[in-house]
Amino acid sequence: MEGWDPTTKSTLTQIPLLTIKAGPRDGATWTQRLKEEYKALITYTTMNKKNDNDWFRISAANPEGTRWTGKCWYVHNLLKYEFDLQFDIPVTYPATAPELELPQLDGKTEKMYRGGKICLTVHFKPLWAKNCPRFGIAHALCLGLAPWLAAEIPVLVDSGMVKHKDDAASSVEV
């Protein structure tokens, strides 16, 4: 699990692991899987709140629970930068990890695929594959998005690619 900072690691271990291996097309088992996903997300969120480290809001965008939308944010220099977050559960889930998208940052950084899908570290995929089907959405957020934000947002802010919403508002106006 090298490649992640100690806080991430400790957080990850506290997220409960999932047991049911089922994709969106598996019907009832998928529902079971979805329940586990929710439980894991609840634990993760509670944990974050307790540690004063709340950084995202998501909710299922369709009843099947195959599309999720929400927001995520990062605090840099006492300023809170907030971005939209959306992703689909792939058909091959949970063998394939969901591709997290930050559409607002599309084209602003090279660590991103077209359509705002973030580039994850080389360590992510093998780890995910190894832990299939135990890892779920909560794990993907914790291992994927949180480190990406911590690494990329300061760079983007400093380079001026991303502006605070107050500034952004003014710049939009301009």
Partner: protein
């Protein structure tokens, strides 16, 4: 199903809606605290833990420390630092604060210990004590992990209250135990009746205790016993006296000892140190002197003055009776001879008597009144008279054997004395050695108190009393030897009166010595003999001196006579020797003449010389000689002569033997040289014949001879005299010719005489020869014609005699 999912969705929603708790970072907090300090809102030292994550106020630290102390009553500072997580420095500081503010706490060796802890510890100890009766402090200290000194200081105030025990020599004992040991000590001490070293007693008690306690029993310090014992002594539970801390003498023993000594001393008026040693008194003299101030300390006994009084009375009696007494016979048998001598010295009557020379003390205990000694001396003196003669003979033999050269006729007394004295010294020392060994043998035989060795100092003491400055027997001996050296030959007399002889005589004179039943009378007689001997020797010496002066005159006379005779004879011999020259040619006649001369003249001379020398020797040695003895009349055989010559000493003997041999030889000359040598050796003068002397001698000889011829009646003996006279007249030489040489001598006269005279001579001579031959032939036969012929011949000769006489006398006249 969906409900559940929905419920989960709602829950998730709710969780996301929930308010997030707000947390400050560490850095922020540190900054905040710093700020508070800066603003002086926190106005005291804020401490932090060693991890650096926590702040702690001193007050809190103090409270924590106190809480820790309360838990066990005892906590180490290092442990505190670990527990509170605060640096040791701050912990120590706070601990000191805590301890100083609370009197029940103490800080010892990095530990805070409360009184409460000690109380509980003391209770524990007490409980254990009740079980074990005794505990060593070291054990407690090891258990509590504190110093034993600390234990002592802590326990002492609690002894008797919390800890019901007694502390003794690093051990805690319960009162019951102490009482038990105390009883043991008391019992043992009361049981002891003899003086004892307490340490030994403690050892036995210790082993006893160990047996009682079994193998696991703890050794009890002997100091514990000792303190219990001292307490008992102080309380009067045990009676006795303690010396040097460990030597215990029970009162019962001391009392018994005292009573015993008192009884002994009052019974016998004396007490021997041996007896006191048996009673266990190690220093009897001090003991007795402190108890009986008036007593007299002696070498082996301690005497009451009454003993002295008794002895004094006996001594006085003996002195008055002019007798002798053995102090030991008066004293109790426990007295040794040294004691006797000592007590005698305290005896007033003896002292005064010694001062006034009325008494002599011999050995250690024998007191002789001087009257008694005097009478003994007189008796011995008489005894000596009988002794003298025999001893002289004995001594002279002795001296000759030893080769003493006192036969020198000259006054070589000095040299002679030296040799005699040296001989005496050797003689004396050898005798002394003998005496010593004899004394050693005796020593073994008289071990019953009369030690010979002990006599030596006392005897020397006696000498001092007599005013002799010699301190030891040895010195005295050497002195006497040297004195004898000076006395010279007179010292010999000491060997005559030997100690043994004296002792024998004394035994005869004092028969009651044997009656006394003394084992070895010599012990008393030897010193007595030694005392008497010098006096007797003096007497003897004086006598000998007198004899010597007498002898000296005799010697002088004798020497004179010897000289005279020697002169006379030697001159005669020389005179006759000259006449021999005339007949030198005829060998046989010469020899004959020589022999004749030696026989007739020299031999008597030799005899006289030898006899007189012998006599001189004797005189010189102080031997009385009967002067009436006629020396000259004695004629000796050759054997006797040789013996006598051999009896002389040294070179003189050789010379004398040579002389004797020469006198039996054939040559007058060799005899003369021998004679000269002998004379030289013995210091006599041998006169040389000179012309004047020869003439006077010849003249007197001639006169003598003429008178003899004139008076001669015997025709046979007339012839040689006539011939000799003729020789004197014609040759001026004195011829001594034997009968056989007469014819030669006569023929020698032929030329000198005229024919008629010569004829008369030859006729006479032939007639004499025939007469003599007839006479010799007639001796064996019976009465026959020869006797007639002899008588006729004799008559014939007698007729011739006047002619012959006239021949000589006539020529003399012409």
């Amino acid at each position: 199903m969906d409900d559940e999912l929905l419920e989960l969705q709602r829950q998730f929603e709710f969780a996301q809606q929930a308010k997030s708790s707000v947390c400050l970072s560490e850095r922020n907090v540190v900054e905040l605290v710093q700020k508070l300090h800066q603003l002086e809102i926190i106005d005291f030292d804020l401490l932090h833990t060693v991890t650096g994550k926590e702040y702690i106020t001193p007050e809190q630290l103090k409270n924590e420390i106190l809480a820790e102390i309360k838990k066990l009553g005892r906590v180490s500072l290092i442990d505190l630092a670990d527990i509170t997580g605060v640096d040791l420095y701050h912990v120590e500081k706070q601990a000191q604060d805590v301890v100083s503010s609370d009197k029940t706490l103490m800080l010892i060796n990095g530990e805070i210990i409360s009184n409460l802890f000690w109380d509980t510890a003391a209770e524990e100890i007490n409980e254990r004590l009740q079980e074990c009766s005794q505990i060593a402090l070291a054990e407690i200290a090891a258990q509590l992990q504190v110093g034993s000194e600390l234990i002592v200081t802590v326990l002492e105030p609690r002894l008797g209250t919390l800890v019901k025990a007694r502390l003794e020599g690093g051990q805690l004992y319960t009162p019951a135990y102490v009482e038990r040991v105390n009883s043991m000590v008391r019992g043992a001490a009361r049981g002891i009746c003899l003086p004892i070293n307490l340490l030994a007693l403690w050892n036995t008690l210790q082993s006893l205790l160990q047996e009682m306690n079994g193998a696991g029993g703890v050794a009890v310090e002997s100091s514990f016993f000792q303190s219990l014992f001292n307490g008992a002594v102080k309380d009067g539970e045990i009676l006795g006296s303690l010396r040097a801390g460990v030597q215990w003498t029970p009162l019962v023993f001391a009392t018994a000892q005292k009573e015993c000594v008192d009884a002994l001393f009052s019974q016998g008026s004396f007490i021997s140190y041996d007896a006191l040693h048996k009673l266990g008194i190690t220093q009897p003299l001090q003991f007795l002197q402190s108890r009986y101030a008036e007593g007299i300390p002696l070498d082996t006994v301690f005497a009451h003055p009454s003993i002295v009084e008794m002895l004094d009375a006996a001594m006085e009696d003996a002195i008055e009776r002019e007798s002798w007494i053995d102090a030991l016979s008066v004293l109790p048998p426990a007295f040794a001879s040294q004691d006797a001598s000592k007590i005698l010295s305290t005896c007033p009557s003896v002292q005064t008597a010694i001062k006034s020379n009325k008494v002599v003390v011999f050995g250690d205990s024998y007191v002789f009144s001087s009257g008694f000694v005097k009478s003994l001396f007189d008796l011995l003196e008489k005894e000596m008279d009988t002794l003298n003669v025999s001893s002289f003979a004995l001594k002279s033999d002795d001296q000759n054997n030893l080769g003493d050269d006192s036969s020198n006729l000259s006054d070589s007394n000095d040299a002679g004395n030296d040799s005699t004295s040296s001989k005496q010294v050797s003689d004396k020392t050898s005798r002394k050695k003998k005496g010593k060994s004899a004394g050693g043998a005796k020593m073994a035989s008289i071990e019953s108190g009369l030690d010979y060795q002990e006599n030596v100092p006392s005897r020397s003491k006696k000498n001092q009393k007599k005013g002799k400055n010699s301190n030891s027997l040895q010195e005295r001996d050497s002195k006497s030897v040297s004195k004898r050296d000076n006395d010279g030959p007179k010292g010999d007399s000491s060997s005559i009166i030997s100690e043994e002889w004296l002792v024998k005589k004394l035994l005869m004179l004092i028969p009651d010595i044997e009656e006394q039943g003394i084992d070895d009378p010599e012990t008393i007689l030897l010193p007595l003999a030694n005392h008497l001997r010098p006096m007797l020797l003096n007497i003897l010496r004086e006598r000998k001196k007198a004899a010597f002066t007498e002898n000296a005159q005799k010697i002088k006379r004798l020497l004179d006579s010897i000289q005279r005779k020697l002169d006379e004879s030697s001159l005669n011999i020389q005179l006759y020797e000259k006449a021999l020259d005339l007949l030198e040619e005829d060998q046989s006649t010469s020899v004959l003449l020589h022999k004749h001369l030696l026989r007739t003249t020299a031999t008597p001379l030799v005899d006289f010389l030898l006899l007189n020398m012998d006599m001189h020797n004797k005189l010189k040695n102080g031997i009385q000689i009967d002067e009436s003895q006629n020396v000259e009349s004695v004629l000796l055989s050759s054997g006797e002569r040789v013996d006598l010559a051999k009896s002389f000493q040294g070179p003189l003997a050789a010379k004398a033997i040579a002389l004797v041999e020469a006198s039996e030889g054939k040559s007058v000359e060799t005899f003369m040289t021998a004679l000269r040598a002998m004379a030289e050796e013995s210091g006599l003068m041998l006169k040389k014949l000179d012309k004047k002397l020869e003439r006077t001698l010849l003249h007197s000889y001639r006169k003598d001879l003429t008178a003899q011829v004139a008076a001669e009646k015997d025709p046979v003996s007339l012839l040689p005299k006539v011939v000799s006279l003729l020789y004197v007249q014609i040759y001026g030489k004195a011829l001594q010719a034997p009968g056989r040489a007469i014819s030669v001598a006569v023929s020698h006269l032929k030329e000198k005489l005229d024919d008629s005279a010569f004829k008369t001579l030859t006729d006479y001579q032939s007639a004499t020869v025939t007469l003599l031959s007839l006479m010799s032939a007639a001796t064996g036969d019976e009465e026959d014609c020869t006797s007639d012929r002899i008588s006729t011949k004799r008559e014939f000769l007698e007729t011739l005699m006047p002619a012959l006489k006239s021949l000589v006398l006539g020529t003399q006249q012409s």
